[in-house]
Amino acid sequence: MGRDVLETFLELCREVFPRENIMLIRGKVKGDRAEVNEFLIPPFSTYGEGFSSFPTHMMPFDLSIIGIAHSHPSDNNNPSDEDLNNFYGRLMVIAAYPYNAKTVAAYNSKGIKIEFTVV
């Protein structure tokens, strides 16, 4: 994941705090590795204080979207039941307060934390 890409996501998380940010992850998956190129704002997304959502029927048909990133207003970056039930794509990125590189975590569809590096 590029540093400037991550910073863009985190900046938006800070912007909507205390509400939760939600973004689509654009990138490439190669085997068991994924490369994140961009974060996209989903159309008609809703940023709530306990949730964030967007209508799936408005999602573009874009195979380069490999997951969803969102923020938690607390310092807990573990995925909730809702997060896992609504898992989309190959990975999920969760940023916790205070939204810096150390409070970001990535998960696979099983809810298992996966390593990521910022380059």
Binding site: E20, I22, T46, G50, F51, S52, S53, F54, P55, T56, H57, I68, H70, S80, D81, E82, D83, L84, N85, N86, Y88
Partner: protein, 335 residues
């Protein structure tokens, strides 16, 4: 303005209340006048009869509230239907959850159940039809309620409309009178019958990719076959596809049930169960039936990884049943 008999007690209560208010205002002014005229060193201040005023006001309020006592559901149906149609609803309640006794010169209809809301409906319906407001008894040993209506007219009506409604003789009652009604009263009767004896049960089903919630609604458990067939005819006339099942342990009885989501949805669109009717047993005991039905229908098509996450989703749906869940269904929602 036309005033029918049902409005008289309420108007009387309102008149009492207005009278008390006028009296209070008049008393206040007259005391004030006396105080001004007699204001002097030797003036005696009259004792203000606050007690009498308060007694009148509180009496009027109590009378007014007692006389305007009515279930909101019955208030609504009484506005829409005439007495004949209300009798259809009454018949539905008695056939499904009540019994009739008329031995030894006593004429009594009893209504049993664990839903206080339905007893309020029964009580208010009795008042609307026969001008008798039976009280609701709570039986702590059984955790249920009972409502006894001592009314000869009511008993004779039920015996005429459904001669078999007699718990002691074990005859089979009939709801033909309901089936003869028009669509709207059949719809309301189905709601009442389902509220008294119907049930909703979300259950988990293992699928290839996890667990999903299936919804089933049903009516009765050991209903006499003939009455069950009539229930089925009533349901079919309202586009509810309820299938008849029988339990081998109880011969000559049957019950209706469906897994069909469209039928469940149709029932919900009809108005669902009467408000505040609760699920009696199982995991969702105590929850409102409509909320459980809405929640299980809303998450019906979703696949969950674990049974507990499916249960949690139903629970969340029940808690948030005031929201229109279907509007949120086509969304990816993260918490």
């Amino acid at each position: 303005m036309r005033v029918n008999a049902a409005h008289i007690p309420r108007l009387f209560g309102l008149a009492l209340l207005l009278f008390a208010a006028v009296e209070a205002v008049q008393m206040t002014f007259s005391i004030e006048g006396e105080l001004i005229s007699e204001c002097g060193p030797g003036a005696q201040i009259h004792q203000v009869p606050y007690g009498a005023i308060m007694l009148q006001i509180s009496g009027a309020v109590v009378l007014g509230s007692l006389m305007s006592y009515e279930s909101s559901y019955v208030k609504n149906v009484a506005r829409r239907f005439n007495a004949c149609d209300l009798k259809r609803l009454f018949l539905g309640m008695v056939v499904t959850g009540g019994s009739v006794y008329n031995s030894g010169g006593k004429y009594c209809i009893r209504f049993y159940g664990k839903d206080h809301a339905l007893h309020q409906v029964f009580s208010a319906l009795s008042y609307e039809l026969y001008r008798i407001l039976p009280s609701i008894l709570y039986i702590p040993e059984r955790g249920s309620y009972m409502c006894q209506l001592y009314c000869k007219d009511a008993v004779l009506d039920i015996k005429e409309l459904s001669p078999g409604t007699n718990a002691r003789k074990g005859e089979v009652p009939t709801i033909e009178y309901i089936l003869e009604g028009d669509w709207s009263i059949r719809n309301e009767s189905m709601r009442v019958i389902m509220s008294v004896s119907g049930w909703v049960n979300p259950s988990l089903k293992r699928t290839g990719s996890g667990y999903s919630v299936t919804t089933k609604i049903g009516l009765g458990s050991s209903t006499p076959v003939q009455l069950n067939e009539e229930y089925q005819i009533l349901a079919e006339s309202l586009s509810l596809k309820l299938r008849s099942y029988s339990d081998s342990r109880y011969p000559d009885t049957a019950y209706l049930m469906t897994y069909d989501r469209d039928s469940c949805r149709t029932f919900l669109e009809m108005g669902g169960f009467v408000e505040d009717c609760t699920v009696k047993k199982g995991r969702y005991a105590g929850k409102e039936k409509n909320a459980v039905l809405k929640a299980s229908l809303a998450i019906g098509g979703i696949c969950f990884e674990t049974p507990s996450s499916a249960d949690n989703a139903v629970e969340t749906g029940i808690r948030n049943s005031n929201f229109e869940l279907t509007a949120l269904l086509g969304r990816i929602m993260l918490g």
